[in-house]
Amino acid sequence: MSHIAGIGVYVPRYRIEASEINSAWARPGGRGRKAVAEFDEDALTMGIQAAHHALTHAGVAGNKLDSISFASVSSGYAEYSLAAQSTQVLGALVSANVADFGLSTRAVTSALQAGLDGVHSKRISHALVIASDKLIAQPGSSFEPNYAAGAGALILAQRGFAKIEGTAAATSGFVGLSRREGAFHGLIDERFVMQHGFLEAAQAAVMRLQDSVKISEWNHAVLQAPDERWASRLLKNLKIAPEKLRSGTAQIGYAGCATFVIHLALAFESAKAGEQILAVSYGPGGCDAVAIKVIERPKFSPSIKDILASGELIKYPHYLRISKLLRGEP
Protein backbone atom coordinates (compact mmCIF):
# COMPACT_ATOMS: atom_id res chain seq x y z
CA MET A 1 0.00 0.00 0.00
CA SER A 2 1.01 3.62 -0.48
CA HIS A 3 2.30 5.97 2.19
CA ILE A 4 2.24 9.68 2.90
CA ALA A 5 5.81 10.98 3.01
CA GLY A 6 5.10 14.69 3.35
CA ILE A 7 2.29 17.13 3.94
CA GLY A 8 2.27 20.91 3.53
CA VAL A 9 -0.24 23.61 4.34
CA TYR A 10 -0.54 27.18 3.11
CA VAL A 11 -2.96 29.67 4.63
CA PRO A 12 -3.02 33.26 3.37
CA ARG A 13 -2.01 36.02 5.76
CA TYR A 14 -5.32 37.81 6.32
CA ARG A 15 -8.28 36.79 8.51
CA ILE A 16 -11.73 38.29 8.88
CA GLU A 17 -14.05 37.52 11.78
CA ALA A 18 -17.52 36.21 11.08
CA SER A 19 -18.87 38.90 13.43
CA GLU A 20 -17.20 41.63 11.33
CA ILE A 21 -18.94 40.31 8.21
CA ASN A 22 -22.25 39.99 10.03
CA SER A 23 -22.05 43.50 11.42
CA ALA A 24 -21.61 44.87 7.89
CA TRP A 25 -24.94 43.25 7.06
CA ALA A 26 -26.58 44.37 10.33
CA ARG A 27 -26.74 40.81 11.64
CA PRO A 28 -25.84 39.94 15.22
CA GLY A 29 -23.11 37.56 16.37
CA GLY A 30 -21.00 35.22 14.33
CA ARG A 31 -18.45 32.63 15.41
CA GLY A 32 -14.89 32.11 14.24
CA ARG A 33 -12.87 33.68 11.48
CA LYS A 34 -11.80 32.82 7.98
CA ALA A 35 -8.64 33.16 5.90
CA VAL A 36 -8.71 35.66 3.05
CA ALA A 37 -6.44 35.50 0.01
CA GLU A 38 -4.61 38.62 -1.17
CA PHE A 39 -5.67 40.19 -4.47
CA ASP A 40 -2.63 38.59 -6.16
CA GLU A 41 -3.22 35.08 -4.85
CA ASP A 42 -5.26 32.35 -6.50
CA ALA A 43 -5.60 28.58 -6.43
CA LEU A 44 -2.33 28.21 -8.35
CA THR A 45 -0.12 30.48 -6.23
CA MET A 46 -1.44 29.08 -2.93
CA GLY A 47 -1.14 25.51 -4.20
CA ILE A 48 2.49 26.08 -5.14
CA GLN A 49 3.30 27.37 -1.65
CA ALA A 50 1.70 24.30 -0.08
CA ALA A 51 3.58 22.05 -2.53
CA HIS A 52 6.91 23.65 -1.58
CA HIS A 53 6.12 23.02 2.10
CA ALA A 54 5.15 19.39 1.38
CA LEU A 55 8.36 18.77 -0.60
CA THR A 56 10.44 20.24 2.23
CA HIS A 57 8.48 18.20 4.78
CA ALA A 58 9.13 15.00 2.83
CA GLY A 59 12.75 15.92 2.10
CA VAL A 60 12.06 15.30 -1.59
CA ALA A 61 13.36 17.51 -4.41
CA GLY A 62 10.96 18.68 -7.13
CA ASN A 63 12.84 16.72 -9.79
CA LYS A 64 12.00 13.45 -7.99
CA LEU A 65 8.27 13.83 -8.67
CA ASP A 66 6.81 11.49 -11.29
CA SER A 67 3.29 12.73 -10.92
CA ILE A 68 1.68 16.08 -10.14
CA SER A 69 -2.08 16.34 -9.60
CA PHE A 70 -3.96 19.53 -8.87
CA ALA A 71 -7.45 19.51 -7.31
CA SER A 72 -9.47 22.72 -7.25
CA VAL A 73 -13.00 23.99 -7.83
CA SER A 74 -11.89 27.59 -8.16
CA SER A 75 -9.31 27.82 -10.93
CA GLY A 76 -11.68 30.12 -12.78
CA TYR A 77 -10.80 28.50 -16.11
CA ALA A 78 -12.68 26.08 -18.31
CA GLU A 79 -9.35 25.05 -19.85
CA TYR A 80 -6.02 25.70 -18.16
CA SER A 81 -3.86 23.10 -16.47
CA LEU A 82 -2.87 24.11 -12.96
CA ALA A 83 -0.88 20.85 -12.68
CA ALA A 84 1.17 21.69 -15.77
CA GLN A 85 1.77 25.23 -14.51
CA SER A 86 2.95 23.87 -11.15
CA THR A 87 5.35 21.40 -12.73
CA GLN A 88 7.73 24.05 -14.02
CA VAL A 89 7.63 26.18 -10.89
CA LEU A 90 8.34 23.19 -8.64
CA GLY A 91 11.28 22.08 -10.76
CA ALA A 92 9.73 18.75 -11.76
CA LEU A 93 11.04 16.96 -14.82
CA VAL A 94 9.27 17.47 -18.12
CA SER A 95 8.46 13.74 -18.13
CA ALA A 96 6.28 13.94 -14.99
CA ASN A 97 2.61 12.93 -15.28
CA VAL A 98 0.25 15.85 -14.87
CA ALA A 99 -3.47 15.73 -14.14
CA ASP A 100 -6.09 18.26 -13.10
CA PHE A 101 -9.08 17.34 -10.95
CA GLY A 102 -12.07 19.61 -10.49
CA LEU A 103 -15.82 20.18 -10.87
CA SER A 104 -16.43 18.83 -7.36
CA THR A 105 -14.66 19.28 -4.03
CA ARG A 106 -14.40 15.50 -4.04
CA ALA A 107 -11.66 16.15 -6.61
CA VAL A 108 -9.15 16.13 -3.75
CA THR A 109 -9.85 12.47 -2.97
CA SER A 110 -10.04 11.61 -6.69
CA ALA A 111 -6.52 13.06 -7.08
CA LEU A 112 -5.39 11.21 -3.95
CA GLN A 113 -6.85 7.94 -5.25
CA ALA A 114 -5.08 8.33 -8.61
CA GLY A 115 -1.78 9.04 -6.86
CA LEU A 116 -2.22 6.05 -4.54
CA ASP A 117 -2.93 3.74 -7.49
CA GLY A 118 0.19 4.97 -9.27
CA VAL A 119 2.42 4.46 -6.23
CA HIS A 120 0.80 1.13 -5.36
CA SER A 121 1.44 -0.23 -8.87
CA LYS A 122 5.05 1.04 -8.58
CA ARG A 123 4.59 3.01 -11.80
CA ILE A 124 5.18 6.12 -9.72
CA SER A 125 7.70 6.55 -6.93
CA HIS A 126 6.74 10.06 -5.76
CA ALA A 127 3.33 11.60 -6.41
CA LEU A 128 2.43 15.15 -5.44
CA VAL A 129 -1.24 15.92 -4.81
CA ILE A 130 -2.05 19.62 -4.52
CA ALA A 131 -5.46 20.82 -3.28
CA SER A 132 -6.14 24.53 -3.38
CA ASP A 133 -9.20 26.73 -3.39
CA LYS A 134 -10.12 30.37 -3.17
CA LEU A 135 -13.87 30.32 -2.56
CA ILE A 136 -15.69 33.60 -3.06
CA ALA A 137 -19.22 33.60 -1.63
CA GLN A 138 -21.82 36.19 -2.51
CA PRO A 139 -21.57 39.18 -0.18
CA GLY A 140 -24.41 39.02 2.33
CA SER A 141 -25.00 35.29 1.80
CA SER A 142 -24.94 32.81 4.65
CA PHE A 143 -21.79 31.27 3.12
CA GLU A 144 -19.77 34.45 3.27
CA PRO A 145 -18.51 34.16 6.88
CA ASN A 146 -17.18 30.64 6.24
CA TYR A 147 -16.06 30.35 2.59
CA ALA A 148 -12.33 30.93 2.58
CA ALA A 149 -9.01 30.34 0.86
CA GLY A 150 -6.15 27.94 1.49
CA ALA A 151 -4.08 25.11 0.13
CA GLY A 152 -2.63 21.78 1.13
CA ALA A 153 -0.35 19.28 -0.54
CA LEU A 154 0.62 15.64 0.00
CA ILE A 155 3.62 13.63 -1.14
CA LEU A 156 2.76 9.97 -1.71
CA ALA A 157 5.52 7.39 -1.82
CA GLN A 158 6.44 3.76 -1.05
CA ARG A 159 7.51 4.78 2.46
CA GLY A 160 6.38 7.50 4.80
CA PHE A 161 5.09 8.50 8.22
CA ALA A 162 1.57 7.24 7.54
CA LYS A 163 0.10 4.39 5.59
CA ILE A 164 -3.06 4.50 3.51
CA GLU A 165 -4.89 1.38 4.65
CA GLY A 166 -7.84 1.62 2.33
CA THR A 167 -10.31 3.79 0.49
CA ALA A 168 -14.02 3.49 -0.26
CA ALA A 169 -16.53 5.52 -2.23
CA ALA A 170 -20.28 5.95 -2.27
CA THR A 171 -21.93 7.80 -5.11
CA SER A 172 -25.64 8.33 -4.96
CA GLY A 173 -25.96 10.71 -7.85
CA PHE A 174 -27.90 13.12 -5.63
CA VAL A 175 -27.30 16.54 -7.10
CA GLY A 176 -26.45 18.89 -4.27
CA LEU A 177 -24.89 21.79 -6.09
CA SER A 178 -24.31 23.04 -9.55
CA ARG A 179 -22.54 26.26 -10.24
CA ARG A 180 -21.83 27.98 -13.51
CA GLU A 181 -18.36 29.27 -14.18
CA GLY A 182 -17.86 32.73 -12.74
CA ALA A 183 -20.77 32.39 -10.30
CA PHE A 184 -20.30 32.81 -6.55
CA HIS A 185 -19.40 29.75 -4.50
CA GLY A 186 -22.02 28.30 -2.20
CA LEU A 187 -25.53 27.76 -3.50
CA ILE A 188 -27.03 24.93 -1.61
CA ASP A 189 -30.27 23.86 0.02
CA GLU A 190 -28.50 22.92 3.19
CA ARG A 191 -30.76 20.73 5.29
CA PHE A 192 -32.02 18.61 2.42
CA VAL A 193 -28.54 18.20 0.98
CA MET A 194 -27.04 17.28 4.34
CA GLN A 195 -29.45 14.39 4.80
CA HIS A 196 -29.66 12.93 1.33
CA GLY A 197 -26.60 14.29 -0.46
CA PHE A 198 -24.11 14.00 2.36
CA LEU A 199 -25.04 11.84 5.34
CA GLU A 200 -26.35 8.83 3.41
CA ALA A 201 -23.36 8.77 1.06
CA ALA A 202 -20.79 9.42 3.82
CA GLN A 203 -22.18 6.65 6.01
CA ALA A 204 -22.26 4.21 3.11
CA ALA A 205 -18.65 5.02 2.21
CA VAL A 206 -17.46 4.61 5.82
CA MET A 207 -19.35 1.32 6.23
CA ARG A 208 -17.72 0.00 3.08
CA LEU A 209 -14.32 1.19 4.31
CA GLN A 210 -14.78 -0.53 7.68
CA ASP A 211 -15.68 -3.76 5.89
CA SER A 212 -12.45 -3.74 3.90
CA VAL A 213 -10.02 -2.49 6.56
CA LYS A 214 -9.64 -4.00 10.01
CA ILE A 215 -10.32 -1.10 12.35
CA SER A 216 -10.45 -1.46 16.12
CA GLU A 217 -11.13 2.22 16.68
CA TRP A 218 -10.99 5.53 14.84
CA ASN A 219 -8.75 7.84 16.87
CA HIS A 220 -9.17 10.94 14.73
CA ALA A 221 -11.78 12.05 12.22
CA VAL A 222 -11.32 14.51 9.39
CA LEU A 223 -14.05 15.86 7.14
CA GLN A 224 -14.04 18.01 4.03
CA ALA A 225 -17.58 19.40 3.74
CA PRO A 226 -18.95 22.93 3.39
CA ASP A 227 -20.68 23.01 6.77
CA GLU A 228 -19.10 22.14 10.12
CA ARG A 229 -22.49 21.00 11.46
CA TRP A 230 -22.42 18.15 8.98
CA ALA A 231 -19.39 16.75 10.80
CA SER A 232 -21.13 16.49 14.15
CA ARG A 233 -24.12 14.75 12.54
CA LEU A 234 -21.88 12.25 10.78
CA LEU A 235 -19.80 11.46 13.87
CA LYS A 236 -22.95 11.03 15.95
CA ASN A 237 -24.41 8.59 13.42
CA LEU A 238 -21.12 6.67 13.21
CA LYS A 239 -20.83 6.64 17.04
CA ILE A 240 -17.49 8.43 16.96
CA ALA A 241 -16.91 10.80 19.91
CA PRO A 242 -17.18 14.46 18.81
CA GLU A 243 -13.81 15.37 20.38
CA LYS A 244 -12.09 13.15 17.81
CA LEU A 245 -12.88 15.64 15.06
CA ARG A 246 -9.80 17.52 13.82
CA SER A 247 -10.87 20.77 12.26
CA GLY A 248 -9.46 24.22 11.62
CA THR A 249 -12.73 25.66 10.34
CA ALA A 250 -13.15 28.01 13.31
CA GLN A 251 -9.72 29.55 12.61
CA ILE A 252 -9.61 29.68 8.82
CA GLY A 253 -13.05 28.73 7.47
CA TYR A 254 -13.83 26.30 4.68
CA ALA A 255 -11.50 26.16 1.67
CA GLY A 256 -13.00 23.43 -0.55
CA CYS A 257 -10.51 20.78 -1.66
CA ALA A 258 -7.77 22.27 0.55
CA THR A 259 -9.80 21.65 3.71
CA PHE A 260 -9.29 17.89 3.36
CA VAL A 261 -5.49 18.20 3.48
CA ILE A 262 -5.37 20.98 6.10
CA HIS A 263 -7.59 18.99 8.49
CA LEU A 264 -5.53 15.89 7.82
CA ALA A 265 -2.36 17.78 8.77
CA LEU A 266 -4.07 18.76 12.05
CA ALA A 267 -4.90 15.11 12.69
CA PHE A 268 -1.28 14.05 12.06
CA GLU A 269 -0.03 16.73 14.41
CA SER A 270 -2.11 15.37 17.28
CA ALA A 271 -1.78 11.66 16.48
CA LYS A 272 0.29 9.00 18.17
CA ALA A 273 2.07 6.17 16.40
CA GLY A 274 -0.34 3.35 15.55
CA GLU A 275 -3.47 5.51 15.62
CA GLN A 276 -6.12 5.41 12.89
CA ILE A 277 -7.50 8.41 11.05
CA LEU A 278 -10.83 8.38 9.23
CA ALA A 279 -10.83 11.02 6.49
CA VAL A 280 -14.02 11.78 4.57
CA SER A 281 -14.37 14.00 1.53
CA TYR A 282 -17.70 15.31 0.25
CA GLY A 283 -18.67 16.51 -3.19
CA PRO A 284 -22.09 16.85 -4.78
CA GLY A 285 -23.19 13.35 -5.69
CA GLY A 286 -21.26 11.41 -3.06
CA CYS A 287 -18.41 10.87 -0.64
CA ASP A 288 -15.01 9.20 -0.42
CA ALA A 289 -13.64 7.74 2.81
CA VAL A 290 -9.98 7.01 3.49
CA ALA A 291 -8.40 5.00 6.31
CA ILE A 292 -4.94 6.17 7.34
CA LYS A 293 -2.66 4.57 9.93
CA VAL A 294 -0.05 6.76 11.59
CA ILE A 295 3.35 5.05 11.69
CA GLU A 296 5.16 7.94 13.33
CA ARG A 297 3.88 11.39 14.24
CA PRO A 298 5.43 13.86 11.78
CA LYS A 299 7.05 17.09 13.00
CA PHE A 300 5.88 20.45 11.73
CA SER A 301 7.75 23.72 11.99
CA PRO A 302 5.93 26.03 12.44
CA SER A 303 3.16 23.85 13.88
CA ILE A 304 -0.08 23.49 11.91
CA LYS A 305 -1.97 24.85 14.92
CA ASP A 306 0.20 27.98 14.87
CA ILE A 307 -0.26 28.44 11.12
CA LEU A 308 -4.04 28.33 11.55
CA ALA A 309 -4.06 30.54 14.65
CA SER A 310 -1.78 33.24 13.19
CA GLY A 311 -2.81 35.88 10.67
CA GLU A 312 -3.73 39.53 10.59
CA LEU A 313 -7.32 40.65 11.09
CA ILE A 314 -8.85 42.91 8.47
CA LYS A 315 -12.09 44.87 8.21
CA TYR A 316 -14.93 44.20 5.80
CA PRO A 317 -14.09 46.92 3.21
CA HIS A 318 -10.49 45.68 3.01
CA TYR A 319 -11.81 42.14 2.53
CA LEU A 320 -14.17 43.24 -0.24
CA ARG A 321 -11.41 45.16 -2.00
CA ILE A 322 -8.77 42.39 -2.05
CA SER A 323 -11.42 39.81 -2.95
CA LYS A 324 -12.31 41.99 -5.97
CA LEU A 325 -15.88 42.37 -4.75
CA LEU A 326 -15.81 46.17 -4.64
CA ARG A 327 -16.41 47.63 -8.04
CA GLY A 328 -16.66 51.30 -8.71
CA GLU A 329 -16.65 53.57 -11.70
CA PRO A 330 -13.07 54.44 -12.73
Binding site: D40, E41, D42, T45
Partner: protein
Amino acid sequence: MTTPHQWRISESNAKLIGYRCPKCSWVSFPEKKRACKRCGSAPVEMMGFVMKPFGKIVSFVVQHRLPEGFETPLPLAIIEFEEGARAAGHIIDCKLEELHVGFEVEAEYRIMYEENGLTMYSYKFKPRRSH
Protein backbone atom coordinates in the same frame (compact mmCIF):
# COMPACT_ATOMS: atom_id res chain seq x y z
CA MET B 1 -1.03 32.58 -24.96
CA THR B 2 2.54 32.85 -23.78
CA THR B 3 4.48 35.40 -25.83
CA PRO B 4 7.96 34.53 -27.21
CA HIS B 5 9.75 36.87 -24.79
CA GLN B 6 7.78 35.55 -21.81
CA TRP B 7 8.63 32.02 -22.90
CA ARG B 8 12.37 32.77 -23.17
CA ILE B 9 12.56 33.94 -19.58
CA SER B 10 9.64 31.93 -18.16
CA GLU B 11 11.68 28.89 -17.17
CA SER B 12 14.34 30.84 -15.32
CA ASN B 13 11.65 33.02 -13.80
CA ALA B 14 9.51 30.10 -12.69
CA LYS B 15 12.35 28.05 -11.23
CA LEU B 16 14.51 30.99 -10.13
CA ILE B 17 17.35 29.89 -12.40
CA GLY B 18 20.35 32.18 -12.37
CA TYR B 19 23.28 32.10 -14.84
CA ARG B 20 26.81 32.33 -13.52
CA CYS B 21 29.74 33.78 -15.45
CA PRO B 22 32.52 31.14 -15.51
CA LYS B 23 35.19 33.88 -15.49
CA CYS B 24 34.14 36.13 -12.59
CA SER B 25 31.11 34.34 -10.97
CA TRP B 26 28.72 37.26 -11.62
CA VAL B 27 25.14 35.94 -11.71
CA SER B 28 22.59 37.04 -14.31
CA PHE B 29 18.83 36.64 -13.69
CA PRO B 30 16.44 35.91 -15.31
CA GLU B 31 18.12 36.14 -18.71
CA LYS B 32 21.10 34.13 -19.84
CA LYS B 33 23.53 36.68 -21.24
CA ARG B 34 26.10 36.14 -23.97
CA ALA B 35 28.34 38.82 -22.49
CA CYS B 36 29.18 39.32 -18.82
CA LYS B 37 28.05 42.67 -17.46
CA ARG B 38 30.72 42.72 -14.77
CA CYS B 39 33.96 41.43 -16.33
CA GLY B 40 33.01 42.04 -19.94
CA SER B 41 33.89 38.52 -21.13
CA ALA B 42 32.22 37.81 -24.48
CA PRO B 43 31.17 35.47 -25.80
CA VAL B 44 30.67 33.58 -22.57
CA GLU B 45 28.77 30.37 -21.80
CA MET B 46 26.98 31.10 -18.52
CA MET B 47 26.00 28.12 -16.37
CA GLY B 48 22.39 27.86 -15.17
CA PHE B 49 21.63 26.87 -11.56
CA VAL B 50 18.61 27.03 -9.25
CA MET B 51 18.92 29.89 -6.78
CA LYS B 52 17.52 29.82 -3.25
CA PRO B 53 14.42 32.01 -2.84
CA PHE B 54 16.22 34.28 -0.35
CA GLY B 55 17.73 37.73 -0.60
CA LYS B 56 18.01 41.26 0.79
CA ILE B 57 16.67 44.63 -0.18
CA VAL B 58 19.41 46.75 -1.79
CA SER B 59 17.20 49.78 -2.38
CA PHE B 60 13.50 50.51 -2.57
CA VAL B 61 10.88 53.07 -3.46
CA VAL B 62 7.25 53.24 -2.35
CA GLN B 63 4.90 54.05 -5.19
CA HIS B 64 1.78 56.00 -4.31
CA ARG B 65 0.44 57.07 -7.69
CA LEU B 66 -0.14 54.27 -10.14
CA PRO B 67 -2.70 53.56 -12.85
CA GLU B 68 -5.88 51.69 -11.98
CA GLY B 69 -5.41 48.01 -11.23
CA PHE B 70 -2.50 48.47 -8.83
CA GLU B 71 -2.72 48.36 -5.07
CA THR B 72 -1.08 51.43 -3.55
CA PRO B 73 1.13 52.23 -1.73
CA LEU B 74 3.23 49.65 -3.57
CA PRO B 75 6.84 49.12 -2.52
CA LEU B 76 9.21 48.21 -5.34
CA ALA B 77 12.72 47.06 -4.49
CA ILE B 78 15.99 45.91 -5.95
CA ILE B 79 16.68 42.54 -4.36
CA GLU B 80 20.05 40.89 -4.16
CA PHE B 81 19.74 37.11 -3.97
CA GLU B 82 22.11 35.18 -1.71
CA GLU B 83 23.86 34.01 -4.87
CA GLY B 84 24.51 37.60 -5.94
CA ALA B 85 21.96 38.05 -8.73
CA ARG B 86 19.87 41.22 -8.59
CA ALA B 87 16.25 41.63 -9.61
CA ALA B 88 13.55 44.24 -9.25
CA GLY B 89 10.41 43.09 -7.48
CA HIS B 90 7.28 44.02 -5.58
CA ILE B 91 7.38 43.74 -1.80
CA ILE B 92 4.27 42.09 -0.33
CA ASP B 93 2.86 40.91 3.03
CA CYS B 94 4.72 43.65 4.80
CA LYS B 95 4.09 46.87 6.73
CA LEU B 96 5.73 49.94 5.18
CA GLU B 97 7.42 50.80 8.50
CA GLU B 98 9.22 47.44 8.43
CA LEU B 99 11.01 48.15 5.15
CA HIS B 100 14.67 49.10 5.18
CA VAL B 101 17.82 48.54 3.16
CA GLY B 102 19.23 45.14 4.13
CA PHE B 103 15.74 43.77 4.97
CA GLU B 104 15.70 40.00 4.41
CA VAL B 105 13.08 38.74 2.00
CA GLU B 106 11.95 35.50 0.39
CA ALA B 107 10.48 35.02 -3.07
CA GLU B 108 6.85 33.89 -3.37
CA TYR B 109 4.98 33.05 -6.56
CA ARG B 110 2.10 35.50 -7.11
CA ILE B 111 -0.15 36.94 -9.80
CA MET B 112 1.60 39.78 -11.67
CA TYR B 113 -1.09 40.93 -14.10
CA GLU B 114 -3.74 39.69 -16.47
CA GLU B 115 -3.36 39.86 -20.21
CA ASN B 116 -5.91 38.71 -22.80
CA GLY B 117 -7.76 36.74 -20.14
CA LEU B 118 -4.64 34.87 -19.07
CA THR B 119 -3.13 35.41 -15.64
CA MET B 120 0.62 36.02 -15.64
CA TYR B 121 2.59 34.93 -12.61
CA SER B 122 6.02 35.67 -11.24
CA TYR B 123 7.87 36.13 -7.98
CA LYS B 124 7.24 38.87 -5.49
CA PHE B 125 9.13 39.26 -2.23
CA LYS B 126 7.86 39.01 1.32
CA PRO B 127 9.60 39.26 4.70
CA ARG B 128 11.75 36.17 5.22
CA ARG B 129 10.12 33.80 7.68
CA SER B 130 11.50 30.37 6.71
CA HIS B 131 15.10 29.14 6.68
